[in-house]
């Protein structure tokens, strides 16, 4: 694997996480529990899709095969997406959506913070830009975890269930393989293991404030990073890709 190939894979991973979670959050458009949350979730969605655009634009220059960012976003098959299993999980209800978002945002903030020091200037620039937005996202999801956890008996029980459910996918946040190894040596990529303690401390802290239990089960699922997805991704892609598949090269 060349450095360029590794970097392409690395950039597409980050882009796929943003794109797929952005698409999931966009499903809330018009369905938010209150108007302000409808707007909040779709605003976060827009930030994520914007990040994905920047990353895919960079990825196609690395790939250098004449593809566009839209082709990467809309015309791959499910096995070619490398997003985390966590971000493709269905919205289910507001509590599940917030729990999924919370684990992700807590990771993303640490990830982008560290990535601003990457030796790759374009990756560092994208991280710097995305970090400012991610801080707002994390504040939003953390405050909701606390409100729901320290809320009514029912909200407490339901957010605890959602926090427990998504826990099994958090292990994959720290997935690494030879792609990472190649880039860590060059100071381009991060050793994700170095983020784990900070991530766990932050998550534990917020859960504690929320009077929630940190899940203790060690059941772990992974596969998204290598293209092995849950059944949910297929349905998501069918909806997301519909326009480009039905009307190839359609533009606004």
């Amino acid at each position: 694997m060349t450095v360029k190939e590794a970097l392409y894979t690395y950039v597409v991973r980050i882009a796929d996480d943003s794109l797929i979670l952005g698409q999931r959050l966009a499903e809330w458009c018009g369905h938010g529990p209150i108007l302000e949350e409808d707007i909040a979730l779709t605003n976060i969605s827009l930030d994520l899709i914007g990040q994905a655009t920047n990353l895919f634009q960079y990825a196609v220059t690395l790939e250098d095969k004449g593809r566009t960012e839209d082709q990467l976003a809309f015309l791959r098959v499910d096995r070619e997406y490398s997003n985390l299993l966590l971000v493709e999980q269905p919205n289910k209800d507001f509590g599940y959506t917030i729990a999924r978002q919370f684990y992700f945002d807590a990771f993303r903030k640490l990830f982008f913070e560290a990535l601003t020091n990457s030796e790759d200037t374009q990756l560092a620039a994208i991280a710097e830009k995305s970090l400012k937005e991610t801080k707002y996202h994390l504040k939003h999801s953390s405050e909701w975890i606390i409100r729901l956890g320290d809320g009514t008996e029912e909200s407490h029980q339901r957010i605890q269930e959602a926090v427990n459910f998504h826990w099994r996918f958090t292990h994959e946040l720290f997935f690494q393989n030879e792609v990472d190894k190649t880039l860590i040596e060059l100071g381009i990529g991060l050793d994700l293991a170095t983020l784990f303690d900070d991530w766990k401390n932050y998550v534990s802290n917020v859960l504690q404030q929320a009077t929630l239990e940190l899940p203790s089960h060690s059941f772990k699922l992974e596969g998204g990073r290598t293209g092995m997805h849950s059944e949910h991704l297929g349905y998501l892609l069918a909806e997301m890709q519909y326009m480009q598949r039905a009307f190839p090269n359609l533009t606004w």
Binding site: E36, G50, H140
Partner: protein
């Protein structure tokens, strides 16, 4: 002979498509203007990653400059845009338009921190409340004035 001063003057007439009282120069999204071999290169930076106005801004710049000089618009992400780059003139125009301009904000890592005091752009009362951190566009939060009851947008601080 086309100078960069002239280009800046022309750019100061290009309005932001979402907040038409502001020019793109007021917003601080024009980073550099260069003239190389009779060609103008304007470098801009997005406010938010997903800002849908960026494509339109690019077209507006081309429309404004093309009669004068061949123009290319480039985009850069670093250094990332911050509301600190908004001009004082721009902030005043925002307020007159009914949008509260960015204030110095508390650290976002503090959960449930008291929301920033944002004076009402209509009656100037400081007795206002935040309705939602997220507003009608990525760059705004939603507030309401407790004094005159006017709901208003707040252009939130991005740093």
């Amino acid at each position: 002979m086309v100078t960069t001063e002239l280009i800046w003057k022309l750019l100061d007439q290009v309005a932001d498509p979402e907040i038409p009282v502001l020019t793109i120069a007021d917003l601080g999204i024009v980073r550099t203007v260069e003239i190389i071999d009779n060609k103008c290169i304007v470098t801009i930076t997005p406010t938010y990653s997903g800002c849908p106005a960026m494509h339109q801004i690019e077209e507006e710049i081309l429309k404004a400059l093309s009669p004068t000089i061949t123009t290319e618009v480039k985009s850069t992400l670093s250094p990332a845009w911050t509301t600190d780059w908004m001009s004082e003139k721009g902030k005043e125009k925002l307020r007159e338009y009914g949008i509260a301009p960015p204030e110095n904000e508390v650290d976002k890592s503090v959960l449930f921190a008291k929301p920033t005091v944002v004076p009402c752009p209509k009656c100037n009362s400081k007795n206002t409340r935040m309705v939602s951190q997220f507003g009608s566009t990525a760059c705004k939060a939603h507030y309401q004035c407790n004094q005159c009851l006017e709901p208003f947008d707040y252009f939130k601080c991005l740093r």
